[in-house]
């Protein structure tokens, strides 16, 4: 059994650690800020994306479940946190209603809907951050895996799931603020969300969450269960014949992964200041897949790297070449797939060691509709 922190993981975590120390220090510690405040939140956002990518890589890279709906879990986590932040606004909203968020006052709600109850308590929101995506994943997975929905069929129904949720959350009747979502947050646990210290704090928390996510994912994939997952990925039916209840294994990782995505969403919301149904859009979920593919599927660290790379490229290019950046991004995707079949990480490591080509055979098998 390989150790939890192999070379690749070690280097990445070390880099993450340096960043975690350097960024807040650069932002807060020095008189003339080396790191502008907005960069702190920006980096924090990247780390949330990275955690989300790790979550997807766990199910896709190791278990062959190509979820095109992981954005939904992320968004649910984000909404759970957003609901708490809305409740924390209290009577500081525009209509000064102590209980109801502004959009509810405006839509003539008399009282909070039952599903908003409890979100005034931080601990409750934290539990919901895990439970909301977790339960959705569990129920969805329970049915889908038991019915042996696999391959593209599974991918497309996960897409249908997030798409349906998007449409539902767009509806004002749902009680989640419709298209505008939840926004205008003031503070969390009494810390002003617009203060630099809170930002730095959230950034550090995101880094810790990413590190924890990576280690948990690594622990899972390193265990015998990880091998079973790979077996499921490569030859699901064969795995059944030696007595593994494939659906239980899938359900386990799918749920764990969804919860991880939920945590990513929960950290994302206060850092970007808004959560809205756009996060449920199928295109968002596809983008997550793209981060993972670009970084290197089935490598965890690569997935995190891919997310950070794409997000950073988007930030930089939209500013540098607002009219051309899409071309650059598109070209990047094409280039990486054709010339870096193992993803960015594969190229970085390829300089040191070669990997067997059989990986491709299995990808072929599992994607055949």
């Amino acid at each position: 059994m390989t150790s939890l922190i192999d070379r690749r993981m070690g280097i990445f975590l070390a880099g993450l650690f340096i960043l975690t120390v350097a960024v807040p220090v650069g932002n807060l510690g020095l008189e003339d800020r080396l790191v502008p405040s907005y960069v702190v939140s920006l980096l924090g956002k990247y780390l949330c994306y990275a955690l989300l990518a790790v979550a997807l890589d766990l199910v896709w890279g190791y278990c062959g479940i190509l979820s095109l709906g992981h954005g939904a879990f992320f968004a649910l986590g984000g909404y759970a946190m957003g609901m708490h932040l809305m409740r924390e606004i209290g009577d500081r909203g525009v209509y000064a209603n102590p209980d109801l968020p502004d959009f509810m006052v405006f839509l003539n709600y008399d009282a909070l809907p039952w599903y908003w109850l409890g979100f005034d308590m931080f601990w409750f929101a934290c539990i919901m951050v895990l439970l909301a995506p977790g339960i959705l994943a569990f129920v969805f997975g329970w049915f889908a895996f038991r019915s042996r929905v696999t391959g593209v069929y599974l991918s497309i129904i996960t897409q249908a799931m997030t798409y349906a949720l998007m449409l539902a959350f767009f509806r004002n009747e749902m009680g989640f603020g419709g298209n505008n979502g939840l926004t205008d947050f003031k503070d969390v646990l009494g810390f002003d969300l617009q203060s630099d210290a809170t930002r730095a704090g959230l950034f550090v928390l995101s880094a810790l969450a990413l590190a924890a996510g990576l280690l948990i994912a690594k622990a899972i994939t390193n265990s015998k269960l990880g091998k079973v997952l790979i077996a499921v990925r490569d030859a699901e039916s064969r795995t059944r014949f030696i007595g593994y209840r494939v659906e239980h294994y899938k359900l386990f990782v799918f749920t764990v992964s969804a919860m991880m995505a939920g945590v990513a969403g929960a950290l994302y919301t206060p850092q970007v200041g808004i959560i809205n149904p756009g996060e449920f859009s199928p295109a968002n979920s596809i983008e997550i897949v793209i981060w993972v593919a670009l970084g290197g599927r089935g490598t965890l660290v690569g997935a995190a790297l891919g997310a950070i790379l794409v997000a950073a490229a988007q930030t930089l290019l939209t500013g540098w070449f607002p009219e051309l950046w899409i071309f650059a991004l598109g070209a990047l995707f094409i280039f990486v797939t054709i010339f870096m079949p193992q993803g960015v990480l594969g190229v970085i490591e390829g300089t040191f060691r070669r990997r067997p080509p059989t990986r491709d055979l299995t990808a072929a098998r599992e994607a055949r509709p």
Partner: protein, 245 residues
């Protein structure tokens, strides 16, 4: 001796074609049984039915005279103690030969158990023994996908043995093996019979002869003849549809 497996009046058709037709068959505990029959006679389908991969249209399949196997899925049958080697070798291609065996080792198959599983020294020893037995020691750390066809056959046999099942369903184990290896396989199976129940499908008559056991001939989804190899080979119909002149 008690009955390990009993098929009674099993029928299964595909688009109107009866692949298994009112098939009845019993296998005793510890017995070694060879099943032969023409291509398309339904041998593999029969195994599919026993292992829960295919549901019969009608008929009953009883395990130890109590459990109805038609209601149990693949994993369930494996957990009852039914192990299977496939006609077309299927192994976990992106995992090492060693891990393939390790995955098959008899153990608690629950999610939590595998998550917190640590490989014991006995496990390692058993893997080593099995690899030795199937002559894949040299390939221990190779990816299973890189093995040759015959090596995959052996690996599957290794995985089957690792499961330590009560009943072994072995579909064409000798295909693609040299004559010497074929004989060795026969010996191996004979060795484990008794403690385990073994059902073997083969077309190689030398192999079947070497098994020296009761033979069932399937034809068009039902039993055409049953008895010793000499007995069934003397059957005209068996010669006609299967052995050739």
């Amino acid at each position: 001796m008690s009955i390990q497996l009993a098929l009674d009046g099993v029928t299964r058709s595909f688009d109107g074609f009866k692949a298994i037709n009112n098939l009845s068959l019993t296998v005793e505990k510890g017995e070694l049984r060879a099943v032969i029959g023409p291509n398309g006679a339904g041998k593999t389908t029969m195994m599919d039915i026993i292992t829960g991969k295919t549901r019969p249209d009608s008929g009953e399949v009883l395990w130890n005279q109590t459990v109805d196997l038609t209601r149990i899925d693949e994993a369930g049958s494996a957990r009852l103690g039914i192990g299977r080697k496939f006609q077309k070798p299927t192994v976990f291609e992106t995992q090492t030969v060693e891990d393939n065996i390790a995955l098959a080792l008899k153990d608690d198959r629950s999610v939590w158990a595998t998550l917190f599983h640590r490989r014991s020294t006995e496990d390692t020893a058993r893997i080593t023994d099995l690899l030795e037995l199937v002559k894949l020691t040299d390939h221990r750390t190779d990816m299973a996908g890189d093995l040759s066809h015959g090596q995959k056959q052996w690996l599957e046999i290794g995985m089957l043995l690792a499961q330590d099942p009560e009943l072994l369903l072995v579909d064409e184990p000798a295909a693609g093996m040299t004559d010497a290896e074929t004989m060795r396989t026969a010996e191996l199976l004979r060795g484990i019979a008794g403690k385990h129940t073994v059902v073997v499908v083969e077309h190689d008559m030398d192999f079947v002869r070497a098994l020296n056991c009761r033979v069932t001939v399937l034809h068009q989804g039902h039993v055409l003849a049953e008895g010793s190899l000499d007995h069934v080979s003397a059957n005209d119909e068996v010669i006609e549809v299967y052995l050739g002149r």
